[in-house]
Amino acid sequence: MTPFDALYAAPAALTAHAPVIVIAAPLVGACAAALSPGARSSWVISVLTTAFSLWMAIALAGEVAREGVIDYALGGFPSPMGIALKVDAIAVTMALLISAMGLMGAIYSGHALLSEVRAEKHTLFQAGYLLCVSGYLGLVLTGDAFNAFVFLEISSIGTYALVAAGERRDRRALPAAFNYLIMGTVGATLYVIGVGFLYGATGTLNMADMGVRLVTLGDNPAVQAGFAFIVAGLGAKAAMFPLHGWLPGAYAGAPTLVSVFLAATATKAAIYLLMRFTFDVFPLDADFGRLFLHGILAPLAAAAAIVCSVQAIFAREVRRMLAFSSIAQVGFILLGFSLATQAGVSAGVFYMVAHALMKAAAFMALGAFAISLKARLLSDFAGIGREAPWSTVAFAVAAASLAGVPLTMGFLGKWSLIEAALQARQAWMVVVFAIGSLLTLVYVGRIVETMFFRAPTPGAPRAKEAPVGVLAPLWVLAGLSVWFGVDATLPASLADAGAAALLGAAP
């Protein structure tokens, strides 16, 4: 079985409430962090609560593996009266991913924040960070359409402020945060209106219940409008192709910790919710759903994968490069989902996890350089491989995974995406994957080449190796990218189960 077996053994009393504890732990932690007297103590709280949340997520994964879907009725009221948390294989996979990234980020923040955020702001910053973690966890675990909106907003409002805090390094973080806020809020409001349409048509907010009742409704313009609103709203949050304008600035400007966490989780949580609606709530046999997946989602995702990869190649700043890359990779993930087959969705989930690991590691490495070196442009990184070998090599590993070099998780992810596309007889998608990967190779190659083989600019500031507190989470992530590239049992089984759970409700 898996190496996590030992951790499954949480006390039964805790496991029974694990779905809510996963969310509540960072939430209470956020309050504690806001109350804590200093930067150090808030960091300790941050690490402890995210660790606890991760432990509970692991316990929850074990529980889901044993019991199947877990419904947790908050307040003791059965749905549709009360709010229910619905934990199935895909939800728990997302929760594992988010809480693990939350922990990694929290550990990393101990040193990373020092250079980027003024010391007296640390307690508030940590509190905001924990609120974000809690918000995304709630978003993936909830089974209630409106509750999802609330958590979407918790995470978003925290995120806007955190992104804006990057102004100390680069003032462009501020307009970027503002644009993010506008797009995010428009997206969230569109989502709410969409949910309103669905509520008007079905009378319920529980997603599962909604799904059951929608089947009987047939062709209703209000339902279609609701779906369109939800897609547009979550699409804006997930940086789906034409709505991605906010992302490069936000990722590039934010403090590294925030970039790390956002790149690993933010868009993914929104994609997850979108897929939950597409597969779980809407009757997939309706022409409308098919039209959306094949006629809208797939072409847009393909366009993202290619256009944004090209933009990444021409970006001058490394962070911006990685941000554009994120949009392109989101395109890959969405292509997998748009197949709507077990193999396709499973590949999409797998690639999602892979991308989270490698992009988080890449941003972490950039942050590690930033501690000693105020580097932004690609040319600033020339020759850094000799000065800070540990962080550079970790970055290279993540980059290799991004480019799809064999023996990395990225390679397996892309491979399974291509396989799924072939299986579904979507040859054009294979071409998109191939071109996208090639383009990725180009920009990743440029970075790695500069880091290792260019001579440093004479007179430029020297980089120093990052402290252990930064290297440890960095290497954990990079290591996982390689390990799962060699032995993918754990993520693949999670992805398979997740895909089955997502598609299971579809007829």
């Binding site: 939430l27 956020a30 307040g75 009266m81 702001k121 209703n220």
Partner: protein, 354 residues
Amino acid sequence: MTGFAVEMSAALNVVLLLMLVAIGLAVAHTRNLLTAILLMSVYSLVSAAWLMVMDAADVAFTEAVVGAGASTIILLGAILLTRGATARVDWRAMVAPALLAVITGGLLIYASLGLPEFGDPSSPANAYVGRMYLERTGEEVGPHNVVTAVLASYRGFDTLGETVVIFAAGLGVALMLGFGPRATLAPAPEKMGDHHVVLRVAAKMLIPLITLYAFYVQFHGDLGAGGAFQAGVILAVAVILYGLVFGLRETIAAVPVKAARSVAALGVMLYAGIGVICMVNGGAFLDYDYLFSPQVEAMIPANLLGDPHEEHHWGQHFGILFVELGVLLTVSSTIVTIFYGFAGRSIDAEEAKR
């Protein structure tokens, strides 16, 4: 056939909505920010009146205190700190948004025809879960105000989230504006003289009444319109009024910045703590039926609410009371924190630094 009051309500609905549309268009048209803010304040007032006609008393309450009160003051603070009118926008830059708006609007209006008729009691929205709440609140939860019951108990988790959202906003504003130049904390220059004896006296008389009213709204949430959010904002408005009249320095002396921030966190903790207590006692998170052990529950006097024979859900009753207290703490202190953030910053100091 319908009767007079029903017809009247329908007519008010149409008139007030038309007013809202007109104000919205006027906001879009004006280029002056202050005008836009004033119109938004009026918009809030009208929309709150409309909400009353729509039977949404609690929402109207919230819209009045939040939309017309808190938002307007925050917006005023913001334009004081940004100082500028909107630049004239080239009409060509408006074509795309206008087209987008018109097309989407047309599609939407088409789509809305698929929605049930306005006021239809048998529409899915009104006949299914909504009706279940109306039927069961009495026996399951207790409060006379069904909105309070749904808010604090059935959907208590949403409300926890909402409290956290407000907390997050306070955190965000404090993070961005809370550590800035506080030059305006200096006392007003002498030459200003004392011109405002009327306002000072009025404010002094009003503030205790406002705080009392806030507590009234807080504690009568299960009997009528209102509840913790509204009370929290009203309480904060009392502090803001004091700040406006007596200056930020005096206000911070009475309500320290740090205290406001801490109380906001404590409020969320209280809310979540109630949930955890329920969990420890064997129920689900926020299942107030498990708030008290039977021994404790037996100690509660039966005539606490007047009629000793009426059936009571003490767990639910006190659960709602406590979580609303948490909401009150968080909301009031967060709004105060936000006010401090905007009022305590000085654009002049910032400019002098350059």
